[in-house]
Amino acid sequence: MENSNPLIQVKNLDLHFGAFHALKNVSVDFHAGEMIGLVGDNGAGKTTLIRVLCGIYAPTSGEVFFDGNKVQKFHPKLAIDQGIETIQQSVGLCDNLSIARNFYLGREPVKRVLGIPFLDMGKMREKSTRVIRQFGLRANVSADDEVERLSGGERQSVKIGRAVEFKNRVVIMDEPTNHLSVREREHVNELAVQLKEQGLLVIYITHDIFQVHKLADRIVIMENGEKVADATTDSMTAEELEEVIRQGGRVVEKREAV
């Protein structure tokens, strides 16, 4: 894996919001088929980094390469077109629209009648119904139901199902299991592993180092806008990584067991 070209390569990324230095010289590589745990405290810069990758923020300086090509313009639409999908707890679904309409929002399939694009509701219903069954929504939920009827876990399932359905190459999960029940959390984590096994790059953002250590291949720790650790999960234990976070990024020498 280390030999292949990284799918996403971030080089010396800096981002300022006015006087606030949100990202400080961040460089990191992400490979396809890998699951990365992106960990750090609140305000560490995890979400900011991700927002650059999915086109919401443009960096102040530094470069981002996607599949070997330098990214010139940052816009969510462009990131989506490249196959980068972000799954966030509170964002991604419009409560006032049906599951089918949400599923295809922004890239609706159309049937043209006299050149006028009409929504292909048949296709939208059929495909989204198949996916919501596959991803374990209650049997009485139909694709025509508005999203506001769904539970937190079901919402996550819809978003993940959508990410799979559109053959994305990168799926970024931002705290995907917050506010979920234990069963729902396990379900979401299983789905994340499935995505990775299908050859996607999965970036899993969380506070919970112990949870992500079990799932991820590699852990990247951020602190104060800087990358402070980048280690494969078989080279460092969760406890060691937690210690790194607790020490605010300084890698502490392991004390010899007495």
């Binding site: 972000t86 006032n96 159309v110 694009p117 929504l119």
Partner: protein, 318 residues
């Protein structure tokens, strides 16, 4: 049936039925006359155009207070430019001016990240001021030739045995209804109002959607002004004053939620029917005309409460 009940216009359907029943009970002979029906449907059609545009803007979680002034501006432009550009020419210019006002306000709202209530309040005053300056307070009329011009007849007379305004309302409402429910643009418009951040994260260019909504709103208001003047080709400076309030009321009575993402075209039309019916019937019953606005206020508040209860009953979180 379930579809109808769950649709956003359901509250307005109930409202229309109640209004018709009540007016029939208290004033059957006065209400169900050809004269009343013609007037009410004519005014409803005009207000509906403005209300439909307003509904589109409200569905994107914005508001347009300038529609009354834009309605007036398009009307004044249509009449005063007719001698120089002819009927079709002045009609096109009037619509372009309306659309331009909408575009300008939309860009200010979207690019300046400003609240649309303030920007369009400014638009309301600015455009009304332009009307005053332009007309100098004088009344303009169409010439006899312009009154019988085929284009004037197309929008002002009768078409296929119905009032032209009604005919155009049916056409435009059908088109807008289909655009809203059955095209990608409609899906994105509702998404923009429902949850802008989510829509944006799906690659919807919500700025553009809002700009289109504002331009369409102004265009429809301008078109309503033209329909009015084709029917009665005479301008005065107060043309369209307070119309924004009636249009917003109609849209809200018709089930548009100011929180965005919910509403319907048919609801806006039915809301307009309710507002106009009240205006007409109160005057017909001999109530002082100044009472009318009080009643619209009461009806508006009652309708909002009713629509909210209905929405909660149907399980929406509002």
């Amino acid at each position: 049936m379930k579809q109808i009940v769950r649709s956003q216009g359901f509250g307005a359907i109930i409202g229309v039925v109640v209004v018709l029943v009540v007016f029939s009970l208290i004033d059957f002979s006065g209400w169900w006359t050809a004269q009343t029906i013609t007037n009410v449907t004519q005014f409803t059609a005009i207000l509906s155009f403005v209300a439909m545009g307003q509904a589109l803007v409200i569905m994107t979680k914005e508001i347009d207070l300038s529609v009354g002034s834009v309605y007036g501006l398009a009307g004044v432009a249509f009449i005063t430019l007719e001698p120089s550009f002819g009927v079709p020419g002045s009609l096109v210019i009037a619509l372009v001016m309306a659309a331009f006002v909408g575009l300008l306000q939309a860009l200010t709202v979207v690019k300046g990240h400003l609240p649309s209530m303030i920007v369009t309040l400014g638009g309301l005053f600015a455009v009304r001021g332009i009307i005053y300056v332009w007309t100098g307070g004088s009344v303009h009329n169409f010439s006899a030739d312009a009154r019988i011009h085929p284009v004037t007849r197309l929008f002002g007379g009768e078409l296929f045995g119905v009032e032209a305004a009604i005919f155009w309302l049916v056409v435009v409402a059908a088109v807008l209804g289909i655009v809203l429910r059955a095209t990608p643009f409609g899906n994105r418009l509702l998404a923009t109002g429902g949850n802008r951040e989510s829509a944006e994260s799906r690659g919807v260019r919500t700025d553009r959607v809002k700009i289109w909504a504002f331009v369409l709103c102004s265009l429809l208001a301008g078109f309503a002004g033209i329909l009015t003047l084709c029917n009665q080709p005479q301008t005065h400076v107060t043309l369209g004053e307070n119309m924004e309030l009636e249009a917003i009321s109609a849209a809200v009575i018709g089930g548009c939620l100011l929180t965005g993402g919910r509403g319907s075209i048919i609801g806006a039309v039915l809301g307009a029917l309710i507002v106009v019916s009240f205006r007409y019937e109160l005057i017909a019953l001999g109530a002082p005309s100044s009472w009318y606005i009080t009643f619209v206020g009461v009806v508006l508040i009652v309708a909002v409460i009713f629509n909210q209860k209905l929405a909660r009953f149907l399980g929406h979180s509002v």
